[in-house]
Every structure is written in structure tokens, then in C-alpha cells.
Symmetry: C2
Subunit: 248 residues, 2 copies
């Protein structure tokens, strides 16, 4: 079974390598700058389209042009599977642009950093998009066989939960990164964990951060709530007397 991976960014390269443990993997990237992951073969868009299933590992914001570039080449039985960190937006596009294909939404909740010791035990969301989806059954079985924890959700359920988990984590990491926090000899364990979050979220591309914040319909509310609790906390602290200035 030939599997295609469209996109060789940080996540695409990682995902192609992971799949190459079990499948013949063909990879395609518009840009020549990315190296070809071990065990995979770089092909043209036409050859990629001959695969039984194609995983889209392009930026969330690139989903529409990527789907349109594939349209002239793929057959109706070709499975098109996105791996975006948001689900409502790309799955709506797939439903609209690929009315007859086997389409499937997935979101591996990990990447090259968090899965550096393997994918076992890590969560992956699968959003079946059509009734009796053969691809959903196949890939759920495959992911489970690799010991990933598969969660079946609707795109809306995913985005709501991801906004308050992955979305807030990236927002905190990217925001704190602007403060230029540094390693410290006297770091508490908690501070070291905070540095680790900043490092991990900033290892991912800036585009992923933007897309997580802009293409998930629930992240705006998350950011507003965060702004509110920060404001409340600052106000609360401002209203507490600074006892250090008290003279006796």
C-alpha cells in the first residue's frame, strides 16, 4: 500500500518517517529546500496522486490551495486525510471540494519533540466525515496497532477542546517567549517546566501558532478569558497594601 505525504515541514517529515515504518511512503513538497526523510521517496504531484491515501501535512492556512492542486490528479477512491491542528476549517473544505472522495480528518496530538521516544501512548484524534467511512476504520485500526490512543470526535468537539489545551499552551509559550526568559542556576522545577513549554512551542513554526489562533473558532474566546483573568489578578494585587513600606 502506497501512502503519500504532502508537505515536508517539521511535522510532515516526522509523519512521513513514522509511516515509513509500515508503508511505502512517497513524499511531495513544493519547496526543494526540505530534505527527504529516511525510508521515503520524493515524487512529483502526479505520482503522489497515485497513492491509496494522501496525508496533508501542509500549513492549515494552505489547505485550500493544496486541495485544489490535488483535484485534477486524484481518483475518487483516493483517501485524502488532513493532519491539521484544527479540524472544523480543513474538514469543511474537504467536504466541499471533495464531495465524492474518501476524506478523513486526523490530528496527531504530538510532533517530533513530544514523540522523540516514539508514538506509543500518545493521543491522536480521528474525525470521520462520511457515513461508513472505510478510511476511518482502516486508520483507527492502524493507529491503535502502533499503540497510539485514538479518540473519535467531531471537528467541533475537537476544536473546542484543543483551544483550551493545545491552543492555550502555544499562546502562553509564544507570549512568554517575548519576555526573553533565561535559564537560571536558581531555577525552581516549575520555572524549568515553563522554559520547556516555551522552547517546545517555539520550536514549531510561527505559521502553526498563527493558524492555531486564527483558524480554530474557539481560540478567540480562550484568549479573551485569559486576558480577563490576568487583568483581574493584576487589579487584585494592586489593591493589596504593600506592607513593606509600612514604617514602625
Amino acid at each position: 500500500m502506497k501512502i503519500g505525504v504532502y508537505g515536508l515541514g517539521r511535522f510532515g517529515s516526522f509523519w512521513a518517517s513514522t509511516l515509513a515504518n509500515d508503508f511505502e511512503v512517497l513524499v511531495y513538497s513544493r519547496s526543494e529546500q526540505h530534505s527527504v526523510p529516511e525510508g521515503t521517496r520524493r515524487v512529483s504531484l502526479e505520482e503522489l496522486s497515485t497513492c491509496s491515501a494522501i496525508f496533508l501535512c501542509s500549513a492549515i492556512s494552505a489547505t485550500e490551495p493544496v486541495l485544489k492542486s490535488l483535484l485534477p490528479h486524484i481518483e475518487a477512491e483516493t483517501q485524502i486525510i488532513d493532519t491539521c491542528s484544527v479540524k472544523v476549517y480543513p474538514t469543511s473544505l474537504m467536504k466541499k471540494l471533495l464531495p465524492n472522495n474518501e476524506i478523513l480528518g486526523t490530528h496527531p496530538m504530538f510532533g517530533p519533540d513530544s514523540a522523540k521516544n516514539g508514538v506509543e501512548g500518545l493521543p491522536i484524534v480521528v474525525t470521520p466525515l462520511r457515513e461508513n467511512s472505510k478510511s476511518a476504520v482502516f486508520w483507527e485500526k492502524y493507529f491503535s496497532s502502533r499503540k497510539m490512543k485514538v479518540y473519535l470526535m467531531t471537528p467541533e468537539e475537537h476544536d473546542k477542546e484543543a483551544a483550551m489545551t493545545q491552543g492555550i499552551t502555544h499562546f502562553i509559550g509564544r507570549t512568554l517567549n517575548e519576555l526573553g526568559l533565561e535559564q537560571s542556576q536558581i531555577a525552581t522545577k516549575g520555572y524549568n517546566s515553563l522554559l520547556e513549554i516555551i522552547k517546545q512551542t517555539c520550536n514549531d513554526p510561527w505559521q502553526l501558532f498563527l493558524d492555531l489562533q486564527k483558524y480554530n473558532p474557539y481560540t478567540e474566546q480562550m484568549r479573551e478569558s485569559l486576558h480577563e483573568v490576568l487583568h483581574d489578578m493584576l487589579t487584585k494585587l494592586d489593591h493589596i497594601d504593600i506592607l513593606t513600606t509600612k514604617k514602625d
Copy 2:
């Protein structure tokens, strides 16, 4: 050598147990509600004052009344050692109120959570306050013998660095706690680290959080910087077009 611990809150109990591995430890608490840590003995304030060294493990904001309550009972050779998470404030008080005693500032950068597997390798700050401080030499040697990493700093150096490490961690943890974030099956590793930070900082008493924010002269600037970068990030995101609304 008899060592006294004043205060049996979360940190005091932990510290008394730790010292009890090597010393005879007498403990005192104004409140009867705390249980006596294993291997230590509860005594009156008068008996506590007969110890060679007394560690203050009371709230930062209670330092002044605590010192004043000890004053009538202690001898000039009694070592008074604070363990506060800020150093400028309590060490100034000790210098003023105990002009003739052996006084010393310390800040173990850990507590019952982060040292649950022992204190080895964990950082502790020591701030010698008087020239040729015998207590500084003694305790530096002792902490090193227990494999803690000892860092000699001035109170100002400590507070500046602690504001941007421990101070910001507690501020983030307490603020995020207000959002009521929950465990999630589809949590990324980063999100789980964030939950862990919230749990650890909120395990400590609210008074510690307040005191860290109000008695460290450098935390206000930290909070202002944080507010600023959050505001900038929200503005930046607001000015990016939401491409999802684009119709084709």
C-alpha cells in the same frame, strides 16, 4: 547541636523533617493545628530559643512580628536564619532588629513537591549578611554535604533573579488557575506540563503567592512586562486577517 524551626506550615514541616535527618530538631508553631513532623519535638517559644540556630519558616509577611516575639528570649550567639522566598525584605529586618546576632538569609528553591524524591541536586541560595559570618560557612558546608547546590548571592541579586523565575512561574500558575483548566484525553505534552505548573504553584499557600508578588521589589516590573507582551500579542493577532471568513 539543637536546631529550631519556627513555623509548621507546608514548608516548615518539610524543612524540619529534612533537618531531622542530621540534627535534633525542636519545632514551634503559634497554631496548634499543625501536626508535629516525624523525628522532631514540639516546644515552647522559650525552649525553642535555647537552640544554637533557629530557622524561620513563617510567612514572609509575618517576619517582623516573629522576630519581635523571639527577641526577648534569644542570646546574642543564637543564629537566626530565615528561609523566605524573597530576601531583601526579611534580611533588612533581621539586620535592623538583631544588630548583634549571627543572622543569615537562605532560600531553598524547592519545597515538599519538588523535593519529594530528596534534596540532592536542588538549588539553595545563601545570603551572608555580616562579615566573616560563621553561620554562612557552617550552613554552606552542611547544605553541600547533603548534595544541595549552594549559590551565594546578595539579597538584591536573589530577588532580581527570583522575580523572573519563581515569581513569574507562580504568577502564571495562579492566573491560569482562575480559568479552571481541566485534564484532557487529547492533551499535548506541553499542556500537561502547564497543568502541572498550575497544580504545583496552587499547592503552596495563597499567602506565599501574595508575599512573592508584594515583598519582592522586582516582581511588579515582571508583571508589567508580562501584561505588555500579552497586550502586544493580542493586538498582533487582532490585526491578522481571519482567512477563514474569506469566501471564494
